[in-house]
Symmetry: C2
């Protein structure tokens, strides 16, 4: 313990919200409260932007009661950012770190944030400023490399599975074709979670389309017609990021199919903001079904939108526990190991679900070459590329927690007495 | 009790789902299980359609354990319909009632269903077929006349309020303008429920637009700019049914503003299906803000869509209790009173919230002349028509139940020590 770096610490949050991102923040605060070698824990408002603007909150002496409440609150309590620091930006960060004697930097976020942490880390090493940099994983997309799964995903998956439980019953009560567009540009994990809603053999989602497989419009029309003929209804889960076999996103095609082309909104990382366009994708797919699937009378489409990542009632307790854990472990790793890295969630071997952590290199989560993010395993997608396997269900179920029960009369009464 | 009509009973469910519609069904079943004068309770599959097609389930001897599970399950367990019986349809219903010796008809639904019940009731009176007809209220829209509120609304309001708690925190963490389109063609109750999300003085929704007031695009742009200048962000709740001062729905204008005009989907009651168009309204309003509000950098829009009416985790326990109650009271009224009608929920006077029921005439809920449905009270809407008052909040809060708590660091630390 003699080698412990003395000084202050900074913690920040970045990227899109999750329901449990504050659990990780609280985990960092709780652990640091136990130690004397860190004088102040500075909470940066809106991530790296709060560092260069010197907008900090003092977090070390927050009462535990308040921390518990903040932990239960969705979306970054410190505020988030999508800024991605370049060299100049990082030098400003370093100036602030020097002047505030910051020796620990904890950054909670997805792979963009891991990338930021890596750049800062490299710069401080170059100029020989001693700084521990620990990245703490967070993303509803579940697309971080080197992780079995990511804090935030379990709650987003719980939202989606619960919504599909209700929507499947809605579709059963008022029959027709229903299409739901889910979050996920490159990874289909959130969309795949919809299959956890299934209880009976004929429950939806009946079809699931993820970005990992090219989406062919003719095959889609055939798939829908086939399910509709079998069940008299069809419930469909579609990732916003589905693309054709040329890699062109269907959300773009859908948006551009309106003659009045909408200005595509592009974020700081060069990503087209798909969620507004997800409405166009929903409309495009439902119009396609209306025009090309004979006999289908009622077609509806929704895009679940941003509430997938912040809905407080869909908090998964497993997810919350693990989000707290990775925050605590970040502090623990910063003390014991003389190296920087990212806290990765791993699944422990055994018959019942258990998770643990390990510290991996920042480059394992933010590599220099593709693949930069994780996608659905091949074994999670069926051969035809229009559904999700039980293997995924086994993987995902423990992360989501117990889902609401469902009852139906067919369980006990198929044939009423007077029809005999 | 000597006057009790002997025979069978039919119960059916109609219209859009709610999270608690099965509680009313279970309420009917539970009560009828106590009496011998009703031999069979026939559950009609898909409402009146199941009657003329003789698709019934025998519900009288269902085990209580199963009933409790069905009660907790969203969306009509018997299946629903949007059929609205005309004279010929009603004569077919009467034929079935005669041949099955049906003497009690319980119909769970909104004002269209009350209308159906009224027509059937008038026909049976004309032909002197003795039948008790009781309508049981259900609608997320909360727009039934003669009711303080309607079973199904509390849970939809709980979904919306919870979603806005999360989305407000999302908007606070990643600042910008966010527009959410909510259900409600003619009544703004669901949209108004978004204000229950507010905790701090600067919490959203900052602006709320309901169908009860004409929506002016210029005023909207000014409102958004004003809020954005004050808070650096703006969260907005908009009913899908907002219309201009000529009564023309903005969802139609938005849909038609795409040169490729989409085929408007019209349901059996002559209503344009607005929810698919709600995506177009979301896009239209966000494009308007992007083009006309200077300095606004990030604009997002979502349409909450169909999951508002079926999300199982947003069940309000008060709502569930009352939905059970109206089902039970329907049976009770059918025994005691020699008249038909609709079970209405009333609020009992007193300092704490309590509700009761009374049997009102079917024509009170399904009148022959306008107004056919209820709208937001004038005192629930502010003078400028862009927000919701505390009076509504007091009205709505008891129906929704306790909402998730929210914590933030500003509560205890405005000024960090090193900035002194």
């Amino acid at each position: 313990m003699a080698s412990m770096l003395k000084g202050n610490a900074v913690v920040g949050q970045a990227g899109g919200p999750t329901v449990v991102i504050n659990e990780s923040l609280v985990g960092v605060i709780q652990e640091i409260q136990k130690y004397g070698h860190i004088e102040h824990l500075l909470g940066a408002r809106h991530g790296v932007r709060g560092i260069i603007n010197r907008q900090f909150l003092d977090l070390k002496r927050q009462p535990s009661q308040m921390l518990d409440l903040v932990g239960r609150t969705p979306a970054a309590a410190l505020g988030a950012t999508r800024d991605k620091p370049d060299q100049e930006y990082c030098e400003k960060i370093l100036d602030v770190f020097r002047s505030e004697d910051v020796r620990y930097f904890f950054y909670i976020g997805g792979n963009d944030s891991a990338q930021s942490a890596k750049i800062i880390n490299e710069l401080t090493r170059d100029v020989r400023y001693e700084l521990r940099v620990i990245h703490i994983p967070k993303t509803i997309d579940n697309d971080l490399l080197a992780n079995d799964h990511t804090p935030g995903f379990g709650s987003a998956a719980r939202f989606v599975a619960s919504a599909f439980i209700g929507d499947n019953l809605d579709n059963r009560a008022l029959r027709g074709v229903k299409i739901n567009i889910l979050m996920g540009r490159n990874a289909g994990f959130i969309t795949a979670a919809s299959v956890l809603a299934r209880r009976q053999h004929d429950d939806g989602p009946h079809l699931v389309y993820v970005p990992e497989r090219p989406f062919n419009l003719d095959e889609f029309v055939n798939d829908v017609a086939e399910v509709y003929n079998r069940y008299g209804r069809c419930l469909i889960a579609v990732s916003e990021g589905i693309a054709d076999d040329q890699g062109r996103p269907w959300a773009e095609t859908a948006a551009l199919s309106h003659a009045e082309k909408r200005a595509l909104d592009i974020d700081e990382f060069g990503n087209v903001a798909l969620s507004p366009g997800a409405g166009a994708l929903a409309d495009f797919l439902s119009e396609t079904v209306r025009q090309r699937c004979d006999g289908v009378q009622r077609v509806r489409a929704d895009s679940f939108g941003y509430i997938q990542r912040s809905f407080p009632l869909a908090r998964s307790e497993v997810d919350a526990w693990e989000a707290r854990l990775v925050g605590q472990m970040a502090v623990s790793y910063s003390l014991d190991a003389d190296r920087d890295g990212s806290v990765a969630l791993i699944r422990l071997p055994g018959t019942t679900y258990a998770a643990g952590t390990q510290l991996v290199d920042l480059s394992a989560v933010a590599p220099d070459a593709a693949p930069f993010t994780r996608e659905l395993d091949d074994e999670f997608i069926n051969e035809r590329g229009n559904n999700i396997t039980n293997s995924f269900r086994n993987y995902c179920e423990p992360l989501v927690g117990e889902l609401p029960g469902v009852g139906w009369f067919e369980q006990i009464s198929q044939k009423p007495p007077w029809s005999a």
